[in-house]
């Protein structure tokens, strides 16, 4: 399989990248590792005429506890001694993405901005022609939810997002019009084609910022996939907990990925548990609530009903693993 022809740009500064992005607006993609973009290009999935590599921009690098550059490679996050001690859930999540060789190339920004996936989308041109194409590429109807009325249900599979959501991360964006920072929880859109709420076409992700208080949380991440390497998640679940000495929950955050078209922070459903006394029974109850609050569609591996059940199991197991107060 050959890549389609495109103009390749490799700017050395953010300004240059920003200008290129503005100039080719609407017909341009950013490549930040390429482990997902290039296979999609080979399948002629919304390939653009211009591709801008972000690999030459030093301002996109760097890892600290408060800021991680968009071009930090997943392997760097996985192996960062700083993150391993201060924000271990980020290193843990990175270590579960894809496979070791691909984590050498894949980046935080690339994973965060990962295109949504679907059985009807991630296919060859012939395959898609045989079903008369889908909403997300060249077609007019959603094949997952035929009554979708123009909404795309492709599944978001980025894994870093779930962990960053429970840490309360913000995303720093840059465009020709200037920089802005917004909470990650407000960044994603529920539509699998739109993907990002209010993102300007010429905007790029510079970094994510993590608030200091995130370090107070005890966190964990679980991934559901048939194989323990290579596979995209069929569910990714991150959980953050602050609990006092008496076993009272002071903060509880839960986020899922690979269920819907965006990563979901289940903040409202979890609110009722703040102030409650941890117990095995409560862990079970929290799992049930998380399951009820989750939706999934039949467009990635494993049955949606099963994936929702696993939300409950993973939630309970993470609570038990994080605090012994949930074990009895």
């Amino acid at each position: 399989m050959e890549l389609p022809a495109f103009h390749y740009h490799r700017p050395n500064s953010l300004d240059e990248a920003s200008a290129l992005l503005a100039r080719h607006q609407g017909d341009v993609d950013l490549v930040a590792g390429g482990t997902d973009l290039l296979p999609n290009y080979k399948n002629r999935l919304n390939a653009r005429s211009h591709v801008i590599s972000l690999g030459g921009i030093s301002a996109l690098q760097g890892i600290s506890t408060r800021r991680i550059g968009a071009m930090a490679r997943l392997v760097e996050i996985e192996r960062s001694p700083l993150l391993q001690t201060r924000l271990p859930v980020l290193a843990e999540t990175a270590s579960k993405i894809s496979s070791p060789p691909l984590r050498q190339h894949g980046t935080l920004g690339g994973n965060l901005m990962l295109d949504t996936r679907c059985y009807y989308f991630n296919q060859s041109p012939l395959w898609r022609q045989s079903v008369d194409f889908c909403l997300k590429a060249e077609g007019t109807k959603c094949l997952v939810v035929p009554s979708s009325k123009g909404r795309c249900f492709a599944t978001y599979s980025g894994e870093m997002a779930a962990s960053l959501l429970i840490l309360g991360a913000k995303v720093e964006l840059l465009s020709a019009a200037g920089a802005r920072t917004l909470p990650l929880a407000e960044f994603f859109d529920e539509d699998g084609i739109v993907r990002f709420r209010d993102r300007k076409e010429d905007e790029l992700v510079v970094a994510v910022h993590i608030p200091e208080e995130a370090e107070q949380l005890s966190c964990g991440y679980r991934k559901l996939a048939i194989r323990d390497s290579i596979d995209f998640p069929s569910l990714g679940l991150a959980l953050g907990l602050r609990i006092n000495k008496r076993g009272v929950i002071e903060d509880l955050r839960l986020a899922t990925t690979a269920m819907a078209s965006r990563p979901e922070l289940l903040d409202e459903p979890m609110a009722e548990f703040i102030g409650q006394q941890a117990s095995a029974q409560l862990a079970f109850r929290i799992g049930e609530v998380a399951q009820k609050a989750s939706v999934a569609y039949r467009n990635v591996p494993l049955d949606p009903k099963y994936r929702r059940k696993m939300v409950a199991v993973f939630t309970r197991r993470l609570l038990e693993a994080i605090s012994p107060a949930f074990a009895n």
């Binding site: 559901l224 048939i226 194989r227 290579i230 995209f232 494993l302 049955d303």
Partner: protein, 802 residues
């Protein structure tokens, strides 16, 4: 002394012949040179260094690239194909359509139902409709978009039950040649003994149905071929093939060309597993295009095209019933199987038989009934895949046997031991069993796994299961009726002292080249480095029928051995002439024609060779193998008939997470009887590879269809187990020493796959008490079964308390 310089060692007079000091494990006093040694494959180094030449590595000046226009329809009548615009595109040299080569072909003479490209109608999504030869891949792809195909869509047949029923109004059957007004390709009915009586009189019976999704070979090297119509008006085809000889025959048939004008060459092949064991449409396509253009034409499939080519294991529904007497003796077996053959015949008639007949062992089955049905459907063709035809029934029979043991309270290991076939016996269907190490296989894995202290005794969530099997070591009957041998090997030795082995056996990564070299080196008492193998160039190598049905070590090995024995005889005669001692006193070992009685009269190899060459030139010998007559006379008696059989037993210990349904095998104990082990390194590799492949089928691999569309035609979504999911394997090789095999060897490439499926399935039952009836046993399916059982137990508890 010769004027030629050669290694001194092979000319040195004998002072003392060093003993090899190697004694066989079986206690025999046979003293082997290279047989039984852990011998790295002779092409391992070039593969590891990236220097092996696969088909796609071959380039010629002026070579064109071929791309195939594939059908987006599952079942449709072709009304018209307009290729004019594509032909007019600069850089396009030729465009082919189905009517350019309409003669049908197929691997079995009874199933000649494929064409190079679709003629009149398409029968599955992905079938070739037209093909382009162009100067670059990009031009070829552009040309495909310029081809205009008009069709009338037909109702596709996608479910087994739609293919087995009578046609309805407005439906058109997939092939005109189907005998009845349905889509049934082949029916097999066999009955031996008194099955009805066996079930009526049984102390215990058990029955279960299973649904198997299709699996495919997923070999590493995608399918590839290059054709060249050379200036001498001959066609040469380089092709990634397991059966170059059948391709040779099929090309001659399709192009109505005498065989001597066709040359088929097999370069290095990156795996086959049965997926490259048919003559293929794309081979016809590149051949036609090369003849049309007068230039070399290359075809390399992408992975999706490999999935379209498929020929993988048939999706199967089967129902197995077994009867047992009060002593735990199996008295009857009843098998009903429906297998989905996809759009074409391929090996399907054989598969239809194998689903039944390969269940006659490794146990004594006094009464047996089998009903098999192979259907056509509008999906890519199913064919032969490692363990051909035996795997899905084997899962069923071994699980049902386990169910009987659970019902009757017998130990599954003991029951298997009590029911095994003996060696040197004949089965009710006429199979001839010779060497048989099944008892030792079972005993070995039971002991090594500590079965007695584990089965039924592990904590909830952990379990242990057993599965056994047997497999053919080459088909005794030939696909094409012929008086030719099934395998022939030529040897040539000249004054350089190296031994050239010409063989038609297709090394597809399994190591058959190394096997042939080892066999010849052993007979001649020479080191491996003197062996060189030239395999599969039909101009140069004698015919071998190919790498399928686990026939190569046995048949090609015997051919190689006989050719080497002929060569040895000539060298011994020469030594006898030189030394004056009788030929009977000589053997060959360690670089000498060695005199067993008077070691000082031994003749160095190079001196004997010089004498043998004198006035005659290079020595050329030939050896061959033809299976002896065997078997019964009823219709279908030849299916599964083999000169010998391998036997296998596996035990798997595993963990089931009762809340997620995830199954993790922890350790596998394997014992395989492959007769004499020629090369432990290679045999262990085959067993480990078989286990890995079988684990894929039982736990995660499936060709997932939605309607006619394969959802996962890539190696990301078609999930082969990764190394980290693959457990530790404890492989024991049981050497039953076959009376007919080369040095007593039998097959080891396929029989080792099937038993891992039931070992896992029975292990899951031991761990969490559920029987899963769908393969693969993915975590969602396992969890559903666990939940169903829990609900049933709750209901029963409630009923008891009420």
């Amino acid at each position: 002394m010769s004027t030629y310089q050669d290694d001194k060692a092979f000319r040195a007079p004998l002072s003392t012949l060093p003993s090899t000091g190697k004694k066989r494990q079986d206690g025999s006093d046979q003293d082997f040179n290279i047989i039984g040694e852990r011998t790295p494959l002779i092409d391992a180094r070039e593969k590891v260094l990236g220097q092996a030449i696969y088909t796609d590595d071959i380039d010629f000046p002026g070579m064109l690239i071929c791309k195939i226009l594939r059908s987006p329809w599952a079942h449709a009548r072709i009304d018209s194909i307009d290729i004019d615009k594509a032909l007019a595109l600069p850089g396009v040299h030729s465009v082919m359509v189905g009517t350019d080569a309409p003669i049908k072909f197929g691997v079995l003479p009874i199933s000649q139902d494929e064409t190079a490209l679709a003629v009149d109608k398409v029968r599955h999504l992905g079938e070739g409709i037209a093909a382009v030869a162009a100067e670059t891949e990009a031009i070829a792809l552009e040309a495909l978009e310029l081809i205009d195909v008009k069709v009338t869509e037909l109702k596709p047949f996608l479910r087994k039950k739609d293919s087995t029923r009578e046609l309805r109004e407005g439906e058109e059957k997939i092939h005109e040649h189907i005998r009845f007004e349905n889509n049934i390709h082949k029916r097999v009915r066999q009955s031996f003994g008194e099955p009805d009586k066996a079930f009526a009189e049984a102390a215990w019976t058990a029955n279960a149905s299973f649904e198997f999704k299709g699996v495919t070979h997923a070999f590493t090297e995608p399918i590839a071929a290059i054709a060249h119509w050379t200036p001498d008006q001959r066609l040469t085809l380089w092709t990634s093939q397991q059966v170059p000889h059948y391709t040779h025959l099929a090309i001659a048939r399709v192009f109505e060309m005498p065989m001597h004008r066709i040359r088929v060459i097999k370069p290095t092949v990156g795996g086959g597993f049965g997926g490259k064991s048919d003559p293929f449409p794309h081979e016809m396509v590149v051949s036609w295009l090369a003849m049309d253009c007068g230039r070399p034409v290359k075809m390399l499939f992408d992975r999706e095209e490999v999935f379209f080519s498929n020929h993988g294991r048939h999706p199967t529904s089967n129902e197995i019933s077994m009867a047992m007497d009060s002593n735990g003796k199996v008295t009857g077996l009843d098998i009903n199987a429906t297998i989905d053959g996809g759009a074409f015949g391929s090996f399907g008639v054989v598969t239809s038989y194998y689903n039944g007949v390969l269940s006659h062992g490794p146990y004594r089955i006094p009464s047996f009934r089998y009903q098999g049905t192979r259907i056509y459907s509008n999906r890519p063709v199913s064919g032969a895949m490692r363990g051909h035809g035996s795997v899905n029934t084997r899962l069923g029979t071994e699980v049902v046997l386990d169910m009987l043991c659970a019902k009757a309270g017998f130990d599954p290991v003991q029951v298997r031991l009590d029911n095994t076939l003996s060696d040197f016996t004949t089965l009710i269907n006429g199979f001839r069993i010779t060497s048989n190490g099944i008892r030792e296989c079972i005993q070995t894995v039971a002991e090594r796994s500590d079965w007695a202290n584990k089965h039924g005794k592990l904590p909830y969530g952990r379990g242990i299961g057993i599965g056994c099997g047997f497999y053919i070591s080459g088909s005794a009957l030939q696909i094409h009726k012929s008086r030719l041998p099934q395998s022939t090997v030529h040897l040539k030795v000249d004054m350089d002292g190296g031994v050239t082995i010409h063989t038609g056996a297709a090394d597809i990564g399994q190591g058959s080249d190394t096997m042939a070299a080892q066999v010849v080196a052993e007979v001649l008492g020479l080191p491996m480095e003197r062996m060189r193998v030239y395999a599969v160039d039909t101009d140069m190598s004698p015919i071998d029928l190919g790498s399928y049905s686990s026939r190569v070590t046995f048949m090609n090995g015997l051919a190689a051995k006989r050719a080497a024995e002929d060569l040895r005889e000539q060298l011994i005669r020469a030594a006898s002439r030189l030394s004056g001692y009788a030929v009977e006193s000589f053997i060959m070992r360690d670089g000498y024609v060695y005199n067993r009685h008077w070691p000082e009269a031994s003749v160095p190899y190079m001196e004997a060779l010089e004498e043998a060459l004198a006035g005659k030139g290079a020595l050329a010998t030939s050896g061959c193998y033809t299976a002896p007559p065997m078997g019964a006379a009823y219709k279908g008696a030849g299916a599964g008939l083999s000169p010998t059989y391998s036997f296998t037993s596996y035990i798997c210990e595993l963990e089931v997470d009762p809340e997620t349904g995830m199954v993790q095998p922890l350790k596998i104990w394997a014992a395989h009887d492959c007769g004499r082990v020629l090369n432990p390194l290679a045999v262990e590799g085959q067993i480990e590879g078989s286990i890995h492949m079988g684990l894929g089928q039982i736990l995660c691999e499936e060709m997932a269809y939605e309607g006619p569309n394969l959802l996962n035609a890539n190696l990301l979504d078609y999930r082969i187990p990764t190394p980290s999911q693959t457990p530790e394997m404890d492989v024991s090789l049981i050497e039953s020493v076959d009376p007919e095999g080369p040095f007593g060897a039998k097959e080891c490439g396929e029989g080792g796959l099937a038993p891992i499926l039931p070992a896992v399935a029975n292990g899951i039952y031991d761990a969490v008490g559920v029987r899963i009836h769908r393969v693969p046993m993915t975590p969602d399916v396992v969890l559903t079964a666990i939940e169903k059982k829990a609900r049933k137990e709750r209901r029963e508890a409630a009923a008891r308390s009420a």
